[in-house]
Amino acid sequence: MSKQASLPITIQGLTKRYGDAFALDRVDLHVRSGEFLTLLGPSGSGKTTLLMTIAGFTRPDSGSLKFGDVESIRTPAHKRDLGMVFQSYALFPHMSVADNVAFSLKLRKVPRSEIGRRVENALDMVQLGGFGARRITQLSGGQRQRVALARAIVFEPRILLMDEPLSALDKKLREHMQIELRRLHEKLGITTVYVTHDQREALTMSDRIAVICKGRVAQIDAPRQLYERPINKFVAGFIGDSAFLPVTFSQGRPLCAGAALKVDDAPVGDGGALLMLRPERLRIVTGQPCEDMNRFAGTVKGAIYQGDSYLLHVALAAGIEVCVRGASQRDAMACIPETGAAITLGLHRDDTVLIPDE
């Protein structure tokens, strides 16, 4: 299997209501050809409904869905030619591994000799060569996951959909499979839509992430952009940990707790704004202040050791509690301030992000 022709997906005005609730609320989304796009959102946000609509299992109330240039909103699921990996894997328990993988090829009347070759290729690709004769019940969770993947790509679909495929695996295996899926995507170049509620997984794997909230796309961006420049409070709060400080404007200049903020791009508009504070971007300042540093005075509330890092709870003068994360190297651990100590926190201007306060 080599690079396959891939297709873009264009979604416009997709709407689906269940009673009074909107599962999808006029969703517009463009998935680029060959892109790995993740739909990320809390449970009940509509991300799975969106994927199931793309797959053809959920009939929307209105909207347009195009694979390439072809309008496909009314195409039945079995004519859409999409690869799909289900959360439950949905491997047919009454068939062997090879029969599961060959299922789509037999339906497409591929010659018998070619079926054998392609099934073996697909199993090799997911490192399960020689497993064809096994029964599904004889496989471990990770192996089932790979079979599901082989079954989804063996007929060379131009779009691959994945619905939380790694959620049933333990942490180590999950992280391993994330890298493997990512490599496979680079090798095949197939347009991939991936659903997860795990933000780290989304950040690790995606070309772009669409954050879904209440049936709408809250923001769609590359992982780093999304994490460092969220455009609203929901995205800032959902991805990563953050605390928010209220910001006021005086003659167009942002003020926080009475002090002027050093910031590169302040949001336009006369409403209030919020300053986003990420635990790992804050640091404890000792000695001479650096020119590009915003400073906040506070009192230490306590420290928590978390293995790879430590977390320091600090109550700021404004009365808001924030966290500071530091690497747990020996020398850093040695100078953690004691509970009750007055300290100064610093935030570099590049990490100073203002978001509109809705």
Partner: protein
């Protein structure tokens, strides 16, 4: 165990046993486990006693009786008669034929109905399920006589049919094989529908979605995925119906009109008419043996505990 013994054991655990280190509290914990098993056994002992009194002892007695001849001594004459007489062979043949036809008709009628039920939303499915179950809770005798009222020469079906001019002379739909089959299918249908419905409900919808996603048309989804996965339930239902039919008495006796003689009826005749306990017992033993044989063969094909309510591990 008293405290002294516990203390001794703890001391042994701490000091180490002469034959190597003895784990702490091991004996007391083992004894607790044994006590729990005994309590469980105690809970089911009334049922076991009942089974012994009303099942094992009478069946053993039956077995013994079947080897007692007319003169009172041990003899094989009851079995010999069954082999010699063509009438008995005929009775077994009819019993198996009626059971097989009933099972096949039940499968043909029950499978689609169970499929329909399994596709309904759960509220509607529950209502329909009650409709399936109500006949099961109604007396067998009442249902059988109800069929007689419907099917006999001057019954509802014949009167209406003739009033509407569909046919002129009463048609014979009872007191024969057809009547027996109609009654038996009706009574057996729930026993087929329940296990089939059960196995259909356990089929994960994702399998059907996956099959469609891989390119299967709705009919292909059904035949390649849904049907094979529902087979254990169909097999269980068919088996239950067939085995229940083998020993059926009331319905063939009333609706068969003496023309359809099944083994159970023959046993009754032997006792009530000829007071021949030996012959009746031998028939019973053979029927029981054949039933057990069928169950054994079935258990080689499929795991019975799984299809009769258990789940795949």
């Amino acid at each position: 165990m008293n405290e002294g013994a516990l203390a001794t054991e703890a001391a042994i655990g701490a000091r180490g046993h002469p034959d190597g280190p003895q784990p702490v509290n091991a004996r007391a914990l083992r004894r607790d486990a044994a006590r729990e098993r005994l309590a469980l056994f105690g809970l089911c002992s009334p049922a076991l006693l009942l089974v012994l009194v009303i099942m094992i002892i009478p069946v053993g007695w039956l077995f013994w009786l079947s080897f007692v001849g007319e003169k009172g001594g041990l003899s094989m004459e009851n079995y010999q008669r069954m082999i010699d007489s063509r009438a008995y062979l005929q009775i077994f043949r009819i019993t198996f034929e009626v059971s097989a036809i009933t099972t096949v008709v039940c499968v043909l009628l029950g499978y689609p109905l169970a499929y329909f039920l399994s596709q309904l939303p759960s509220r509607a499915a529950n209502l329909c399920m009650i409709a399936v179950l109500v006949p099961l809770w109604t007396s067998l005798l009442v249902r059988t006589y109800a069929w007689l009222v419907l099917l006999q020469r001057r019954g509802l079906i014949n009167t209406w049919g003739m009033d509407l001019g569909l046919w002129h002379d009463p048609i014979a739909i009872v007191h024969n094989l057809l009547g027996t089959l109609i009654g038996m299918v009706h009574i057996m249908l729930p026993f087929l529908i329940l296990p089939v419905y059960g196995s259909m409900k356990t089929i994960d919808r994702d399998y059907l979605k996956a099959a469609a996603n891989l390119g299967a048309r709705p009919a292909q989804v059904f035949w390649k995925v849904f049907f094979p996965l529902s087979l254990p339930g169909l097999f269980a239902g068919g088996l239950i119906v067939f085995i229940l039919c083998l020993g059926f008495y009331v319905t063939p006796a009333i609706l068969g009109g003496g023309r359809v003689i099944m083994v159970a009826m023959s046993i009754a005749t032997n006792i009530e008419l000829f007071v021949n306990w030996g012959a009746a017992s031998a028939l019973g033993v053979v029927l029981l043996a054949l039933t057990l044989l069928i169950l054994y063969v079935a258990s080689r094909v499929i795991r019975l505990d799984q299809v009769l309510g258990g789940r795949d591990p």
